[in-house]
Amino acid sequence: MTDLLPRDTPVQLIDETGSAHADEQYRMPASDILREAYRMLVEGRRLNEQCTALVKQGRLAVYPSSHGQEACQVAAAMVLGDGDWLFPTYRDTVAVVGRGVRPADAMVMLRGDWHAGYDPAVYGVAPQATPLATQLLHAVGFAHAAKLRGEDTVVLALCGDGATSEGDFHEAMNFAAVFHVPVVFLVQNNGFAISVPLARQTAAPSLAHKAIGYGMPGQRVDGNDVAAVLTVLTDAVDRARAGGGPSLVEAHTYRMQPHTNADDDTRYREREEVQQWIARDPLTRMSAHLRASGALDDEAEQAIREGAERLASDLRDAMNVDPEIDPEDLFRWVTAQRSPQLEEQWELLRGEIDRDRMATTEGGAR
C-alpha cells in the first residue's frame, strides 16, 4: 500500500551540472528524445521571451510565463500520442504549442480577440483553463468517456501547486481513482500561487503524498530535469494506457518571472531565491548534458536557435496583423440556435454600429 507513496526526494536523472545519475526504477530517455526535448526547451524559452516582449509592446494583454518551467511543459507535450489529450491552464502555452497549436492561435485569448483560439479536437488540447482546478474534472470525464468506449486515449491534466487546494482538485483525483480512468495529473509545483508560498498551500510532506488518499500512485520529480519528467510521465502514461489507472506526478520547479506581467514579485520573494533557481535552469543543464554526451554540437545548437528565432518572428508577424473582429460573434456561439432575445439584442447593436458608421462617414455625431 505504501507503494502508492512518492519517494522522499524527487526523481532526478540529470543534475544541475548536467551529469547523469542512474535510477533503479526510471530509465534515461534515448538521446534523440533528449535532443528533441532540448530543441523544444529552447523554442519554449524563446516563446516565453517573445510573449513577454509582446506584452511590453502592447500587442498582448497579459502573459503568464512558464519561464523556468519549460521542462515540464515540453515533457507534457512529448509524452502524449496523437489520440491523447492535454488539459492545460493559462500558464501552459508552451505545452499547448508543443502539441502543434500555432503560437498565434494560442495567443488569441491573451490578445483579447476571443476566449480561445484553436479547435481543441484538431490538436487534442482542451481550451486553456483559467478557473483553477476546474479542468481536472473535465479531463477525468473525458478519459472516462474514452474508457467507456474502449478507446486507448490517455489524458494528461495540468495544474499548479495552488490549484491543489481547490475542492475540484480533490473531486477530480477521487473520481479518477474510483472510476480507474486513464488520467495523469501533473502538478507543476513552482513554489508560488501568485504571492502565496507553498507553505501556505499545504502542510503535507509533499503534494504527491496526496495520491495515496485517493488510492493512486504519487511520484515526485525534479521539474527542471526534462529527462526525469519525461521518464516519470512516460511511465505514468504507459500505466494509464495499459489500464493501470490514474496517477499523480508532482514536478518541483520554479516560476522565474512574476505571475504575469501585471504582478510585482519583489513584494513577496527575495531576489536571492530567484537567483538560486537560475543555477537549476532546465535549459542549461540539458545543453551541458547533451554536449558532454556528444549529442549536441555548435552546429546543432545553432540550428535549434534558428528554429526558435523563426518561431518567434512568425509569431511577431502574426501579432502585428490585427485580426478582423466581427461584433456579431458576441451572439453567434452562445447556443447552437440563437434565441429571439439575442436576435433582438443583436439588432440593437447592429443599429448602433450602422449609425456610428454612417456618422463617421458623414462626419456627424450621434
Binding site: H115, D119, H138, V140, G141, F142, V334
Partner: protein, 341 residues
C-alpha cells in the same frame, strides 16, 4: 400563438399512456438510452437505488452499470466530469439530488457548462442535461425545497426549462437530451406523482410557452408547481365571472416573448406566479418584460405572486410561504377592474 408541441417524425405509432410525471421522466430516460449509445446517466444514488425519487428506477439494471451509475458524492465532480464527457462525444444526463445540493457545482455550471460552446466559437458544444428536482410543497426540511431557477436563468448560455405535466416532462426531457446545448432541467418535485396522458411520440420545442387555458379578462403566467395553482385560481375566478387565461411559461430561458406578449395584450391584465422568492427572480423578469412590452395594452400594473424573500420555510410554515389560490385571487382582484366599487 403557437402550441408548440411537435410530433417527433422518427416516432412510430402514437403510444399514449397514463403516467405520473416521475414515470414519464423515467420513460424519457429509458427511451433516450435506448435510442443513443451516447446517452449516459449518473449522479448520487441513481444506480441501484434508482434515485431518491426513483426517476432512474430500473435503468441501471436494464442498461448496465456503464450507462447508468453512481458517482462519488460530489456535485462539482458530477457536473465537471459530465462536461468532460460531453467534450468527448457523450450526452450525459446528470442528477442533482435536491435543488440546494446543486450549489457545490455552481462554478462548473456558470464558468464552463454555460460558456464552453461560446468559448470555443462552437468548436465544442456541450450536449448535456442537469436534472434538478426543485421547489417545495412536500414538507421537506431545509435545503430540500429551494427554487433555484433564477441563478440559472440569469446565466447566458444555459437553457432552463421546467415541465408541469407528465406529457411535457416526457417531451421536454427528450428534447433537452437531444439539444446540442446544455439544459438545466428543473423537475417540480411536488408534481412528481401527478398523473396525465403521455404520448411518447411528442417532443416539446424548448423555448416555447404553452397556452393551457383560454380566457379574455386576465392572463396568469406560471411555471412548475404554480401551473396547477393558476388553473385552480382560474376555475375559482370563473365562478366570480372572470375569464382567466393561463400560460405555462415552461421555458424559463430562452423566453417565449411572442406567445406571452400576445397573450397579455389580448387580456390587458397579468399576474405572474412562481414559488421562488420574488426578488430578482424569473417572476420579476416576466413582470418587467410584460410591463415594458405590453405597456400600451395594460389596464393595470402587472402583479406577481411569489414566495416571500426569506429562506424557504420549515415544513410547518410552508402553507404560509407558498403561493396559493387565494393569494392569486387577491392579486387578480387588484387589477383595476371596471366593475369595481
Amino acid at each position: 400563438m403557437t402550441i408548440a408541441d411537435v410530433r417527433a417524425t422518427e416516432a412510430a405509432a402514437p403510444a399514449t399512456q397514463t403516467m405520473t410525471m416521475a414515470g414519464a421522466l423515467n420513460r424519457a430516460l429509458a427511451d433516450a438510452l435506448t435510442e443513443s449509445r451516447e446517452v449516459l446517466l449518473f449522479g448520487e444514488d441513481v444506480g441501484r437505488l434508482g434515485g431518491v425519487f426513483r426517476i432512474t428506477d430500473g435503468l441501471a439494471a436494464r442498461f448496465g452499470e456503464d450507462r447508468c451509475f453512481d458517482t462519488p458524492l460530489a456535485e462539482s465532480g458530477i457536473v465537471g466530469t459530465a462536461v468532460g464527457m460531453a467534450m468527448n462525444g457523450m450526452r450525459p444526463v446528470v442528477e442533482m439530488q435536491f435543488d440546494a445540493f446543486a450549489y457545490p457545482a455552481f462554478e462548473q455550471v456558470i464558468s464552463h457548462v454555460a460558456k464552453l460552446g461560446n468559448r470555443t466559437r462552437g468548436a465544442m458544444r456541450l450536449p448535456m442535461v442537469i436534472r434538478i428536482p426543485f421547489g417545495g410543497g412536500i414538507g421537506g426540511v431545509e435545503h430540500h425545497c429551494d427554487s433555484s431557477e433564477a441563478y440559472y436563468a440569469h446565466t447566458p448560455g444555459l437553457t432552463v426549462v421546467t415541465p408541469s405535466t407528465p406529457q411535457d416532462a416526457y417531451s421536454m426531457l427528450r428534447a433537452a437530451i437531444d439539444s446540442p446545448d446544455p439544459v438545466i432541467f428543473l423537475e417540480p418535485k411536488k408534481l412528481y406523482w401527478t398523473k396525465g396522458e403521455v404520448d411518447t411520440s411528442r417532443r416539446t420545442e424548448l423555448g416555447t410557452a404553452r397556452i393551457v387555458r383560454d380566457g379574455t379578462d386576465v392572463t396568469l403566467l406560471a411555471y412548475g408547481t404554480a401551473v396547477p395553482i393558476a388553473l385552480e385560481a382560474a376555475d375559482a375566478a370563473a365562478e366570480e365571472g372572470r375569464s382567466v387565461q393561463v400560460v405555462d411559461i415552461r421555458s424559463l430561458s430562452p423566453f417565449d416573448d411572442a406567445t406571452v406578449t400576445a397573450a397579455v395584450r389580448s387580456t390587458g391584465r397579468a399576474v405572474v406566479i412562481a414559488e421562488a422568492p420574488g426578488y430578482v427572480s424569473v417572476a420579476s423578469e416576466i413582470q418587467a418584460r410584460v410591463s415594458e412590452r405590453c405597456f400600451e395594452h395594460l389596464e393595470a400594473p402587472v402583479r406577481k405572486v411569489t414566495g416571500f424573500d426569506v429562506p424557504f420555510a420549515p415544513p410547518k410554515f410552508e402553507h404560509w410561504y407558498l403561493p396559493d389560490v387565494d393569494r392569486v385571487l387577491d392579486a387578480i382582484d387588484t387589477l383595476h377592474w371596471e366593475d369595481e366599487g
